[in-house]
Symmetry: C2
């Protein structure tokens, strides 16, 4: 058995099932071992950003890591933007990066670079393996590191000769400690606040899984506290039969206003909220020094259990929940606006859908419109690196082959990772990509106007508009084997979405807004 | 005047003319200043890898830096692969990267990350600006650092509030010292060797400009030394009226064989050559310990001047040159093979063409076939990060609007940076992309077989083949506004290449190999 084979056997023993790969010469022993050691499904992505984003989506849906297989420093670098998103999402990912043979490192070959420094920028755990015998143990450690709840990024750098060299048998999976429980004091203090004042409960991370949400709803049912979720949840269970939660607005002045009604904000699974960007005259922290933020449970702790303990402490009956007063929008007709776009998706999405929302400004109305849709899972981008949507949807579809995935996708962001469509076609994934084509980086024009620029100059205009030429998403999808269609009305969007979901497999709908 | 305006005025004073940009919220003051301070052409790229690769191509053709404008850490990270290539090419580039407002840094907002650490991995010079008043001086320093011959990467990180804050006037361009001259001893020693033995002269970097090549030809004309160029030149002048130079082969066993005939190899503008990858049983260094390598001039020195001094020392007459015995291939017909593909390009390329060759295995025959083409400039990828071709061709076309650019482009690599086509369309650039569509990462199958794998397993096959579905490059190009056509014979390739070059503007030809 060589190092590559012992590594893969170790990965299989620890439950790794999928490898999102774009290998090169230095990873060929791993590639060969994927056949000699069956058990891991290799998924080719035509750009490493797709590998990284897909591993994020997979990890969010499976609560366990997939592995990526990346080629040297430049290959890893191409994944960093979406590993940044995954780090903010606290997703579990194991990156396996090839390296020059140990004896060839000193030659500083053209493709050589300092991989470990790049890896440290986004990884909680990095190791440079230096022997074939230790490769299996290093992989076991990497998987254990990635599996620390709720999830971390671990990067193992494996030289070519160590992949090829003789190695012993696989290593059994390392034990992974469960998420620590929140302290009794934290629960007691939160209960005291909730009994005394009208507070807000800010939910994020694992607080937004079904168990966390139902416990939060019990808390609200007896205390009347307001339930607010973080702006960009990694994963949230939503829909008609689930507790309804308001979303913290993106722009800081709106978020500050929403939170300003409460003396105390109780944090469950989130850090203290901050503004996405620093705007002159607006503070970084959304909770003012005159208010107070108290933590019920940190993101790394068992947040659903903490919420349940809190509900119990408050004597909330099991299953108590405010009625969800939202109604599902009826099917819209007429021109496609942001509102009719959001209503069309919310009206047409089937039960059990996974919605990856990187619609940005175009899908801003969707969150609220979808409150009463049949139960679904909602994914966003906690790290803000644009282009995560298509690969994240790809990984979610690999993780959940029986669920329809709908990717609401801004056009400018989609161009970063359009190669995802090919992997969706190759693997026959149930992903319907709905391109929100407003032919601009709309948010940037808005930001310029917010900053006081009254009239955009010619160069600024050209840096913001995606026109001259317009992008033709039907052709782009067709070029990668994904059937596409363009719609310009709300009724056409509903019809084509139904058709795409009935047909199954990958589809693209270009919605011209 | 604000910091952004003083920065741009400083850049203009130092000769910066072009900015390859993909800005976000933190770079909006720079975007606004591009209009209030006219003089720099902003070129929007729909992915930061395109910005970086375009700046590389521009720098190679202009011998001065363009600037990039990138959004925070994830935006910079998306450029790293092609900054790696540019670093190996020693191209001049100034990266301007936005940063969170200084007062917002501590909040660790979702998009915040350690930009400087990422920047250091590929930059010779990195600075994190911290005040509006110093932004102009920091930019002047960055441009000077990038301009150190033959070129370096300089990265300036500029916080949002420093771009907006009040600043003084622009800073005059810093003086940049010329490339140092090689030592007299190095020239004397090389001359002694060449008079005593049959040696090889290995040329790289600036040795491959017209002056360097003509001087090298003079040296060869009186000593009979063999002229060999590095495997992946950043830029080389080539064609019928220029000295003919052999290329060091890619595979180390072939390169070692070529060099093994010489007791001494004289290095002009190159480091000692090493194998691209470490293969078991084959040494890292291509010149054996029994041979010797002596340096005439290091890559940072004035290599053409050193070659001229060497020719003078040897008493070589001005203009002496071996005849170029190569003949231009006649227009091929029939099936497209690697040979007929290469012959078709070499037969059809016009005088003054810029050929960006990332054809990889598909264009392997082109270097030799094009020896007698009308004079042209030849660009390759010194760093080996795949996908450089399309952006590098884009930047070369911006630098040289009157010259036709032909990008010989492997299909797998092209998928990394296909967004380049949109910028070519937007800017109306004279770039003809010839996709070498062999529907595979062909080199990887070859490497697996070299490593002794006799039959590829099913998973390995799927990681190497770009089939199921095939990529349709005519549709992909059309989706970005570039007219495309597919050819399956050599005569069709010649015909379509002529047509595309006559038509001008961006074009794509998918050559099915």
């Amino acid at each position: 058995m060589n190092g590559a084979e012992s590594l893969l056997r170790t990965a299989i023993a620890a439950g790794i099932e999928v490898c999102f790969a774009n290998p090169g010469t230095t990873e060929m022993p791993i590639v060969a071992a994927l056949d000699t050691v069956p058990g891991i499904r290799a998924v080719l992505c035509l750009f490493e950003g797709v590998c990284a984003g897909a591993a994020d989506g997979y990890g969010r849906m499976k609560n366990k890591p997939a592995m990526t297989l990346l080629h040297l420093g430049p290959g890893f670098a191409n994944g960093i933007a979406y590993l940044h998103d995954a780090r903010r999402a606290r997703s579990p990912i194991v990156n396996l990066v090839g390296e020059m043979a140990t004896w060839h490192l000193a030659a500083d070959a053209p493709l050589a670079s300092d991989i470990a420094s790049l890896a440290r920028s986004v990884s909680a755990w990095v190791r440079s393996n230096r022997s074939a015998e230790e490769l299996a143990a290093d992989m076991a450690d990497a998987i254990a590191a990635a599996s620390v709840p709720p999830g971390q990024i671990a990067t193992l750098i494996a030289p070519h000769d160590c992949q090829m060299g003789p190695a012993g048998g696989p290593i059994p999976a390392r034990p992974v400690p469960p998420a620590p429980r929140a302290s009794d004091e934290a629960i007691k203090r939160a209960a005291e606040v909730l009994l005394k004042e009208e507070a807000a409960l800010l939910l994020g991370g694992t607080a937004l899984d079904e168990r966390g949400l139902r416990a939060a709803a019990r808390v609200a049912s007896v205390t009347g506290c307001r339930l607010i979720c973080e702006t960009f949840p990694k994963r949230m269970e939503r829909g008609a039969t689930l507790p309804s939660v308001e979303r913290l607005p993106y722009f800081p002045e709106q978020a500050i206003r929403m939170l300003s009604y409460y003396q105390t904000i109780i944090l469950a699974g989130v850090k203290e909220p901050v503004s996405f960007f620093g705007y002159p005259g607006i503070p970084s922290y959304l909770i003012s020094p005159e208010q107070r933020a108290i933590a019920l449970a940190a993101p790394e702790e068992d947040v659903p259990a903490a919420l349940e303990s809190l509900a119990d402490a408050l004597g909330a009956p099991a299953g108590a929940m405010e009625s969800n007063f939202a109604t599902r929008p009826s099917r819209p007709t007429g021109a496609l606006t942001r509102e009719s776009f959001a209503a069309a998706i919310a009206a047409a999405q089937p039960e059990g859908a996974i919605i990856m929302d990187e619609g940005n400004t175009s899908s801003a109305a969707y969150f609220q419109m979808s409150n009463a849709a049949p139960p679904f899972t909602y994914l966003t981008q906690p790290g803000g690196a644009i282009g995560l949507g298509p690969p994240c949807a790809t990984g979610a579809a690999i993780a959940c082959p029986d669920r329809p995935v709908i990717n609401l996708q801004a056009d400018g962001s989609a161009m970063y990772t359009l190669q995802s469509l090919w992997t969706q076609a190759r693997e026959g994934l149930n992903v319907t990509t709905v391109i929100c084509n407003n032919r601009s980086y709309w948010i940037l024009g808005y930001e310029l106007r917010r900053a006081g620029v009254k009239e955009l100059g010619a160069q600024a205009q050209r840096l913001i508009e995606l026109t001259n030429p317009p992008l033709d998403w039907v052709q782009l999808a067709g070029g990668m084997g994904v059937p596409g269609v363009r719609v310009e009305t709300a009724e056409a969007l509903v019809k084509e979405l139904k058709r795409a979901l009935d047909a199954g497999g990958p589809n693209l709908i270009e919605a011209v807004l």
